[in-house]
Every structure is written in structure tokens, then in C-alpha cells.
């Protein structure tokens, strides 16, 4: 197993095992070790949308909870909801960091190679072929898109349908030429 795969799974295990009691040492340990591994992954958790969501999760949900059993600076809140919110926030941050770390390390080509080795229902072969065909499929789609026109405002659906037929026929004809080439090459 490659080092980054092992690290990814280790972080997933940490995320699953975080609770309110061990979060005081486990979460800082996870953050510090990730800073040494790749500090760039922290960019993913510094997005305002995510931080706003986590802020609402940790600070607002305990206040608006129906069973308030604790008071902080005169504001009553639910201790249980606060604890589970904190754990959820930490868990999500660790998972997002782990995913970012993993996707930064691995490449599409590497996945294709790994899948070919696995021989998973021939998926590796199909995936490699799809990477080869991708530029041509893109070209066919873009070329066909240039030909898209609406003849009348009331015939938008009819024109779009006809355009889709044209596009898919071209793509299938292209697929046919590749399969013919493959047969000619004796696969």
C-alpha cells in the first residue's frame, strides 16, 4: 500500500473515532501532523461558506435547541447538542483535509493504472479507453454545439431534440470507428 493511501485511511479512522472527550488531543494532533505532511490542504477548510456552516452548526443549533440544560454568559443552550455539533465539525474538517490530501497526491493516470492491475470487470481497460476518447468526444460536442440553432421560438424542444440526435449519432459513429480499429488491430 502506498504511503498516501495509508495516511488517507489513517485520517478517516481518526475522523470516525473523534468524540467530545478525546477531541482535545486527537484533533490538534491530526492538524499538526497534516501541517507537516502538506500544509496546502488547509486551504480547503478556510472557505467562508464552510466556516459559516460550521459556525451555525456549533453556535446556533445548541441555542435554538428545544431542550436547553446549560447557561453560558446568560445564554441558555443544550449541552448535548453543543457536544455533538463540535464533534461533527471536527469530523468534517478531518475528512475534508484527508480527501484533499488524497486527491492532491493521486492522478487520473495512476488510477487508470491501478484499475488495470485490479482487472475489475475490465473497468481499467474501459477507463483507459475513455481517457483516449475524451478529447475527440469533446471536439465532436463543441463542433456540434456550433451548429445548434433555434429556427423558431416555439420549436426550442424540437430543435434541441434534433440537435441531440445529430450529436449522439456522430458520437456513436465515432465509437464504431474505434471498435473497428480495435478489431483490425486484433485488440
Amino acid at each position: 500500500m502506498k504511503k498516501y493511501v495509508a495516511i488517507f485511511f489513517a485520517y478517516l479512522c481518526i475522523a470516525i473515532s473523534v468524540n467530545f472527550n478525546n477531541q482535545f488531543w486527537l484533533v490538534p494532533a491530526a492538524f499538526v501532523s497534516m501541517a507537516f505532511l502538506n500544509w496546502r490542504v488547509f486551504r480547503i477548510i478556510l472557505k467562508w461558506k464552510l466556516l459559516l456552516f460550521l459556525g451555525i452548526l456549533v453556535f446556533c443549533t445548541p441555542i435554538f435547541s428545544s431542550q436547553k440544560d446549560a447557561v453560558f454568559m446568560g445564554i441558555s443552550y443544550s449541552r448535548n447538542v453543543f457536544e455533538i455539533s463540535v464533534v461533527m465539525a471536527y469530523r468534517s474538517l478531518i475528512i475534508l483535509m484527508a480527501l484533499k490530501y488524497f486527491t492532491q497526491k493521486i492522478s487520473v493516470q495512476e488510477i487508470a493504472r491501478s484499475l488495470s492491475k485490479l482487472k475489475l470487470l475490465g473497468f481499467g481497460q474501459v477507463f483507459e479507453l475513455s481517457l483516449t476518447t475524451l478529447p475527440e468526444v469533446k471536439k465532436i460536442t463543441v463542433d456540434c454545439l456550433d451548429e445548434y440553432k433555434i429556427s423558431h421560438p416555439f420549436s426550442v424542444f424540437k430543435d434541441t431534440f434534433e440537435w441531440l440526435v445529430k450529436l449522439l449519432v456522430r458520437i456513436l459513429v465515432y465509437a464504431d470507428t474505434i471498435s473497428l480499429n480495435k478489431i483490425n488491430q486484433g485488440e
Binding site: 480547503i44 447538542v81 492522478s107 431534440f161 440526435v165 456513436l172 478489431i183
Partner: protein
């Protein structure tokens, strides 16, 4: 059409159709997916899923191999995960689950108009449930406790009957979009098949004319 009895040309054809339609699915996810998300239009996820359904069900019509949709989904998911320089675990998971649901539905119901309609409707309803599933994976099962708490609080403000009507309307809208996408996928597959048949006939006729004139 059993996979074990498949001739080599047929197997090759199936593989290339899967690869090409998987690429197309990936392209749609990368380009249209990002555009729709950027435009912040309501129900962007449902619209994207409806378009995707048309793509992969048409692909399935021309590649009857078992696991074809799952493979197309695998290709699209892998292309998607490397398309943007950010963590996109949600869409990655969504593509794979959608492909799995569609594959199971088509295996059970076969390739016909009814199965296309049911698959379309099921997948669109799934798009409503997907955020809850992906959030459950990232935040843990406690997120459902929070949702339940929010629902309890909201039901104090909004009448629960009204909330039910709103939810039902939202689900019904998704069912309608799913129905339309399934129907379009079926009609499109038939139209493309007819078109290819015409091209083939024309090409055979041209070949015959060439040989005859020679």
C-alpha cells in the same frame, strides 16, 4: 443478449460505447455541472441529473452489457474528481450512487420505455435525498439529530400540514422532471437508432453501387 455468448466485435463495440458515453457523461458533469452551480439557479442538481439520465440511458440502449451504466458512472466520477482543484466528494459519491441505482433498475426492469421512465423518476427523487446521505457520511449520524431538532423547531412556526404540502409539491416536481428525462432518453435512443440505420443502409447502398460499377 448474454455476455458470455458475445462475439469479439460485439464486446469491442460495447466497450467503446461505454467509454465514449462515460466520457460524455464526465464532460457534461464538468462543464454543465460547474456552469449550473455557478449560475446559482434553483434545482440545478435536479436539472443536471435529468440531462445526465438522458446521456447514460441513451448509452445503455446502445450497449446492453451488464454493468454498462455503472462503468459509465465510474468514468464520469473519476473525471469529475480531478476536474476542479477542490474536494468534490459529494458529486463523486452522487454520480456513483446514481449509476448504481440506474444499473439495478435496468437489470430488474430491462431496457424498455417503462424502465426508462421509472429510472428517471427514481433518480430525480434520489437527488432530494442525496445531501442527507453525503452529509451523514461527512458529519456522522448525529447530523440527523440536528435535522430532527430543526424540523421540530420549524413545525412550531410553520403549520405541519403546510410543510407537508410544500414537501410533497417539491417531490412531485422532481418526479415530473424524472418522467420527462426518461421519456426523452427513450425517444432519443429510438431516433438515434433510426438515424444510424439510415446511415448504414445508405453506406451499404453506396458500397454496392461502387462494386457494381467496378
Amino acid at each position: 443478449m448474454k455476455s458470455s455468448n458475445k462475439s469479439l466485435p460485439q464486446r469491442n463495440k460495447n466497450i467503446t460505447v461505454i467509454a465514449v458515453f462515460g466520457s460524455l457523461w464526465g464532460l457534461v458533469e464538468i462543464t454543465l455541472g460547474v456552469t449550473l452551480k455557478g449560475m446559482r439557479i434553483p434545482m440545478a442538481g435536479a436539472i443536471l441529473t435529468a440531462i445526465i439520465i438522458i446521456v447514460f440511458l441513451t448509452g445503455k440502449y446502445f450497449s446492453r452489457q451488464k454493468g454498462a451504466i455503472l462503468m459509465m458512472g465510474g468514468i464520469a466520477a473519476l473525471l469529475k474528481i480531478f476536474s476542479i482543484g477542490t474536494v468534490i466528494a459529494g458529486p463523486f459519491l452522487a454520480i456513483l450512487i446514481e449509476a448504481l441505482i440506474a444499473e439495478v433498475m435496468i437489470i430488474i426492469l430491462g431496457v424498455n420505455r417503462i424502465s426508462y421512465l421509472i429510472t428517471g423518476m427514481t433518480l430525480l427523487v434520489y437527488t432530494i435525498l442525496h445531501p442527507f446521505i453525503s452529509q451523514g457520511l461527512i458529519f456522522g449520524e448525529n447530523i440527523y439529530t440536528i435535522y430532527l431538532e430543526m424540523f421540530t423547531q420549524m413545525s412550531k412556526v410553520i403549520n405541519s400540514t403546510n410543510m407537508g404540502v410544500i414537501a410533497l409539491g417539491y417531490v412531485a416536481l422532481h418526479v415530473v422532471i424524472g418522467f420527462v428525462s426518461g421519456l426523452v432518453a427513450w425517444n432519443l435512443s429510438k431516433a438515434v437508432e433510426r438515424e444510424i440505420e439510415q446511415i448504414r443502409k445508405k453506406s451499404d447502398k453506396d458500397k454496392f453501387d461502387e462494386e457494381f460499377s467496378a
